[in-house]
């Protein structure tokens, strides 16, 4: 077992390398090289779907005389990006001790607008006012980009005399549950710009080379030589990421948070496995290997394959009970002589 997981092949002898080519408030572009595609894809997936953020989850509408239906507005509110700084200190509502929600697991925002002029009025994200005791001064505040003249995303419009009054509860969540909790707005993920590995099959009218614009990373890698033979052993090892944010989490923080989420997954698995091994069968549900059983080898296997309710002895879990001749012969509901079916 004496080997370095990151120094197995010649290609990977240096371990993973990261090069950043662009970084600002909206995006970070970086190249991950000397890594396997499985890891690169894990990072991409985890950044997209599993970084916790905050988004409006409950909307209580007090007054709505606009032309838009309540649920339509509620849906739009859910999609408004909210600042997620300090999200680590916010609890998931489902884990919180409170009844439904509280200051430890939610941020309350209120919206009240009435069109008093004689021209249509815009209701924007800036009109959402956070209230209550917050973990910090920014968590849950709508993101207002400079490009929107300090107004933020448009929520709805009101005609003269129309009014909207509602309160929202923003909760912590991940994009696996609903895309409104996505930390990045988009992630670019690309490798093998010259398609040397033939992972892509480019559709074309007459000539794929002319019709497909070269990737922005085409210059970073050697183009295929004239008449170059296909390398069956080649695997991708340079991955170009472009992590873009709507503003709720800075782009570089998305990357570090993503790695952190993977780490947490792994840590919980290691902990689980440790519990599996330790203790006198403890919480462990399944059959275990002899060495962890403390007993002999056969005892382990026999235990694994008996039904819990059967009439004792070593019975198949499939067929089960008394009347079972073939494993599939008896139905669980039929009266084939079973008191409790194997299924």
């Amino acid at each position: 077992m004496d080997y370095d997981p990151m120094a197995m092949d010649e290609i990977e002898s240096k371990g993973p390398v990261i090069k950043i080519s662009q970084a600002d408030t909206v995006r970070v572009k970086f190249e991950l090289s000397n890594a396997d595609i499985s890891f690169a894809n894990s990072l991409r997936r985890v950044m997209l779907a599993e970084i916790p953020t905050i988004a409006i989850d409950l909307v209580e509408i007090e007054d709505n005389s606009s032309v838009l239906a309540d649920e339509f507005i509620a849906h739009r509110l859910g999609l408004i990006p909210l600042n997620a700084e300090g999200i680590d200190e916010l609890q998931y509502s489902r884990d919180c001790d409170c009844e439904e929600y509280c200051d430890h697991c939610s941020v309350k925002l209120t919206l009240h607008a009435r069109c008093t002029g004689d021209e249509n009025m815009q209701v924007v994200a800036r009109d959402l006012v956070p209230s209550g005791d917050r973990i910090n001064r920014v968590l849950g505040t709508p993101i207002i980009n400079e490009s929107s003249d300090g107004l933020g995303p448009l929520i709805m419009k009101l005609r003269p005399g129309q009014e909207i009054k509602l309160s929202c509860i923003a909760k912590k969540g991940i994009a696996k549950e609903h895309a409104k909790w996505a930390a990045p707005s988009a992630i670019g993920f690309e490798y093998d710009p010259h398609n040397k590995l033939h992972h892509l099959d480019m559709w074309y009218e007459t000539d794929a080379k002319l019709e497909w614009p070269p990737s922005e990373y085409a210059d970073w890698e050697e183009p295929p030589q004239e008449g170059e033979k296909f390398d069956f052993n080649a695997v991708p090892d340079r991955f170009y990421f472009n992590v873009e944010t709507a503003g709720n989490i800075p782009p570089d923080a998305i990357v570090t948070q993503g790695i952190k989420v993977i780490q947490e997954k792994l840590a919980s698995m290691i902990k689980d496995l440790g519990e599996t091994e330790g203790g006198e069968n403890g919480d462990y549900n399944g059959p275990r290997s002899p060495e962890y059983n403390g007993g002999g080898g056969d005892g382990w296997q026999d235990q694994g394959f008996t039904t819990p309710y059967g009439n004792g002895g070593n019975q198949s879990s499939w067929g089960g009970g008394a009347g079972g001749t073939t494993p599939y012969g008896t139905t669980p509901y039929g009266g084939a002589g079973q008191d409790n079916g194997g299924w």
Binding site: M1, Y3, P5, M8, P16, V17, I18, K19, I20, A23, F30, A35, F39, N41, S42, L43, R45, A49, E50, D95, D252, T256, I259, I262, Q263, K265, L266, M269, I270, D272, L273, T276, E277, N281, D283, Y284, G286, R288, S289, P290, E291, Y292, Q301, D302, Q303, G304, F305, T306, T307, P308, G313, N314, Q315, S316, S317, G323, T325, P327, G342, W343
Partner: protein
């Protein structure tokens, strides 16, 4: 009486059943029953089993599937998917003591991911899994450190002298 009893018991030879069971794909093995039988064998009562099912968050998310031997085991991960599965499969296959490793998501509507590990003699599948998880942690540590370092380097470069 004696006749029916013997007929009842005859096909229920443990060894025979084991063979049948092991030929079935693990996703088709009736694990629930096995769990309960295990609990029964350990002298736990029914209340404990129910409790285990009710508590959701603190339950085990990794489970050794029935039909496993020390060097050839299948594990079931709850609430995990390709994100962990593929990377774990890769890193476990890197281990020279591992003969075979693969992962599968048996059904898309069940939040389960299975990993099969077969090792050479001298180590166990559980050890290989543990090593795989730790190796993946190491990779994450390196990538994390390298990213932070690259960030600092980039900021330095972009500030004009």
């Amino acid at each position: 009486m004696a006749k029916s009893k013997s007929r009842t018991k005859a096909p229920q030879n443990a060894d025979e059943d084991d063979v049948v069971m092991q030929e079935l794909p693990t996703s088709h093995q009736p694990d629930v029953q096995d769990d309960a039988s295990m609990a029964e064998a350990n002298g736990e009562d029914d209340a404990d089993i129910e409790d285990e099912e009710e508590v959701e968050d603190d339950t085990q998310r990794v489970r050794l599937l029935p039909g496993s031997t020390p060097t050839a085991a299948s594990f079931e991960f709850l609430d995990e998917g390709h994100t962990l599965g593929n990377a774990l499969r890769y890193i476990i296959m890197k281990n020279p003591d591992v003969e075979f490793c693969a992962y599968a998501i048996p059904h898309p509507s069940e939040p389960k991911m299975n990993v099969r590990i077969q090792t050479y003699e001298g180590t166990t599948a559980i050890d290989a899994l543990q090593k795989g998880l730790k190796d993946l942690q190491d990779v994450c540590d390196v990538v994390s450190d390298k990213f932070v370092a690259a960030q600092k380097g980039f900021k330095k470069k972009s500030i004009p002298p």
